[in-house]
């Protein structure tokens, strides 16, 4: 996890340096805010990953040498099919069309969205019905 930490933090620091040069050279506050937010996008996950990487043993995928068979049964449950992403996608599509064709498509679309949110959540509780 240390490498992941370095990737994020490195990008954050690089853009921080760029931000400082840009801001003091141009005096442009508007675009500097965009760069400032981007620094956060690098440093926030970087800090999270760095915090954890110091407090946990290297994961199997971080180790150079792994004993065969020593990491079995680490994988969780993965769904193979679910209708709810499709229902949610159609719901979002119809809701988005309301911005063009009027509120009536959102009435239908939001009903799809709520159904998908409800049944999608219920169908995935305890990692069971997936």
């Amino acid at each position: 996890m240390k490498t992941e930490f370095r990737v994020y933090t490195g990008i954050g620091i690089f853009i921080l340096v760029m931000l400082l040069v840009y801001f003091f050279w141009s005096g442009d506050g508007g675009n500097s805010i965009l760069l400032f937010a981007t620094v956060g996008l690098g440093l926030l996950p970087g800090a999270y990953l760095g915090w954890w990487s110091r407090r946990m043993e290297p994961r199997p995928e971080d180790r150079e040498v792994v004993e065969p068979g020593g990491v079995a049964d680490q994988l969780g449950a993965f769904p193979t099919h679910s209708i709810w992403p499709f229902v949610l996608g159609v719901g979002v599509f119809l809701t988005a069309l309301a911005f063009v064709f009027g509120i009536w498509t959102a009435v239908v679309g939001l009903s799809f969205c709520f159904s998908a949110a409800l049944w999608g959540t219920l169908s995935s509780r305890r990692g069971g019905l997936i």
Binding site: L34, F78, P79, G89, V92
Partner: protein
């Protein structure tokens, strides 16, 4: 299953319910392979629709004062052509299609980290694409303000009607789809790698997709925010981008290009990754300068967030030396990549199959496009050529080179893995030569006609302008390219109707996706080879030449020649 060392790491097949089949499977599957294929088919369909629009555009420009299509239709065609190619093909083909299918296989994972989110991404992408095309059915026609939607042209006064609104909604939907896919890719690569697959053993394609995912998360939300502001201007009476109400039109350009320039690398990095997978396999060598490639990718990512205003030199509102210097700097990591691709092939045992041929074509095209990009990064040249066909030729060489030449290199390379079938090699080569010749005949004259002063986005020109001959050559090139894609469709059709079994590992591939069956089973692997280097499947199949037995990396690549295996 490929030949695998008997000390495999047992990979527990995760619990899952019985899978449906047929149409219901297509509709409901959360398997990354099914979703990846859906993305591939859909993005290729959008590519062919947008390509047809390109043929119509070129037909209009074949003759001076031509009236093949009206100026309004012409504007709609180039807007939707560009929008579809960039938002609906080049990006989704790479990170929704190829990466979705290949990344879990390359890192030994059973699926993407969030399978249902993955499925939702696809449906948002499909519906977003349909929304964009719906614009042609409205009374006002489709959006006609270019794929960049510059304000104030994109404001309600200058672009009234439902078509532009549909464009805004469409790009927002596709943007959300891209953000969800990026979250999935980054999480999958960081948390679902197989034991022993450290970050610096990941295939370069996986590395590039990780960085692409981070770039998407940086840039796509900015575009979505800008689209909401534009919609507010059009319908809620705000004046964010209109001078009349105290707004600033150039703000749109800043917001758009803060997305738009990282987007260029979001569209390029995955394709860099694809050719970096193809070249070592068909050169029978490990990739040269692995860490250099990784750091070059990271450098490109960092620099690409600081060069957005090089698209705005002529506005007179940007800090020219800063943006020019950073833009020129990008040439350094990009040059490192080109160098490492050539060095990987250098003294290798080259096998000129279709994927390698496409990869070499990509290097040629991308280098030409890259060099003209360096020229455009210099403000004096940009002032002279801005909004001319010189710029059109430049970005088509870069993007066609990446998304089409490198993209099809990847598609031919992984086609046996996706389908278990082999394409026809002769037709693959014919496809390459037709589009490589057609593409250069199309775009090289555009550099010249641009330097002579032909502006982009004009529906007509006069005979006295002196643009006629070069435009005719360019149009003929577009037709040749189109014929090349008919050959590709024929190749796929033949492969489907008269399949030739490919076997699990027809290229003697290096990375984990070649260590499972073709196509892979439901959750990808029943067992994995031990991962002790960057090329676990190569190690398992060639224990006498295994990478982990080699001494530390030599400093001069010329000493690698001994490693090229010629007894194929």
């Amino acid at each position: 299953m490929a030949v695998i060392d008997d000390t495999v790491t047992e990979h527990v097949v995760p619990h899952h319910a019985e899978e449906p089949s047929g149409f219901y499977r297509w509709l409901t599957s959360t398997d990354h392979k099914v979703i990846g294929k859906n993305y591939l088919y859909t993005s290729l369909a959008f590519f062919f629709i947008a390509g047809l629009m390109a043929v119509l555009i070129r037909t209009q420009l074949f003759s001076p004062n031509n009236h093949f299509v009206s100026p309004q239709t012409y504007n709609e065609l180039f807007t939707i052509h560009g929008s579809m190619m960039l938002y609906l093909f080049a990006g989704p083909f790479a990170f929704g299609g190829v990466a979705n299918y290949i990344i879990p296989l390359q890192i030994g994972a059973p699926d993407m980290a969030f399978p249902r989110l993955n499925s939702l991404s696809y449906w948002l992408f499909l519906t977003g694409g349909i929304t964009m095309l719906l614009g042609f059915l409205t009374a006002s026609g489709a959006a006609a303000f270019g794929w960049v939607a510059y304000a104030p042209l994109s404001e309600a006064t200058n672009s009234p009607g439902a078509g532009p609104d549909l464009w805004i909604v469409s790009v927002a939907l596709v943007g959300f789809s891209g953000i969800f896919t990026a979250v999935n890719l980054v999480t999958t690569i960081m948390y679902l790698r197989a034991p022993g697959l450290t970050m610096f053993r990941m295939p370069i394609f996986t590395w590039n997709m990780l960085v692409t995912g981070i770039l998407i998360l940086i840039s796509f939300p900015v575009l979505t925010a800008a689209l909401i502001l534009l919609y507010a201007d059009r319908h809620f009476g705000t004046h964010i981008f209109t001078v009349a109400g105290g707004g600033v039109p150039v703000l749109w350009q800043n917001l758009f290009w803060f997305f738009g320039h990282p987007e260029v690398y979001i569209l390029a990095l995955p394709y860099f990754g694809m050719v970096t997978e193809v070249i070592p396999v068909f050169s029978r060598k490990p990739v040269f300068g692995y860490k250099g490639l990784v750091f070059a990718t990271l450098a490109i990512a960092g620099l690409s967030t600081g060069v957005w205003a090089h698209h705005m030199f002529t506005t007179g509102t940007v800090l020219l030396p800063f943006f020019s210097a950073l833009s020129l700097l990008i040439a350094v990591p990009t040059g490192i990549k080109i160098y490492t691709w050539v060095a990987t092939m250098w003294k290798g045992s080259l096998d000129f199959k279709t994927p390698l041929t496409f990869s070499i074509g990509f290097i040629v095209a991308f280098t030409m496009g890259g060099i003209t990009g360096v020229m455009l990064a210099a403000p004096p040249i940009d002032f002279y050529t801005h909004d001319t066909y010189f710029v059109v030729a430049h970005f088509h060489q870069v993007l066609f080179g990446s998304a089409v030449l490198a993209g099809f290199a990847g598609l031919y390379y992984w086609y046996p893995k996706l389908t278990g079938r082999m394409y026809r090699e002769g037709l693959g080569k014919l496809h390459f030569w037709l589009i490589f010749i057609g593409f250069n005949v199309t775009f090289l004259p555009q550099y010249v006609v641009g330097l002579r002063g032909m502006p982009r986005r004009i529906a007509e020109y006069a005979a006295s302008d002196g643009f006629t001959f070069l435009n005719r050559v360019s149009t003929v090139g577009a037709y040749i390219t189109a014929i090349g894609f008919l050959v590709f469709i024929w190749n796929m059709w033949i492969s489907w109707r008269r399949p030739i079994p490919a076997g699990d590992n027809p290229w003697d591939g290096h990375t984990l996706e070649w260590g499972t069956s073709s196509p892979p089973p439901s959750h990808n692997f029943h067992s994995l080879p031990p991962i002790r280097s960057q090329r676990p499947v190569w190690d398992a199949n060639h224990p006498e030449h295994a990478d982990y037995l080699r001494p530390p990396e030599p400093s001069r690549f010329s000493s690698r020649r001994d490693e090229a295996v010629v007894d194929r």
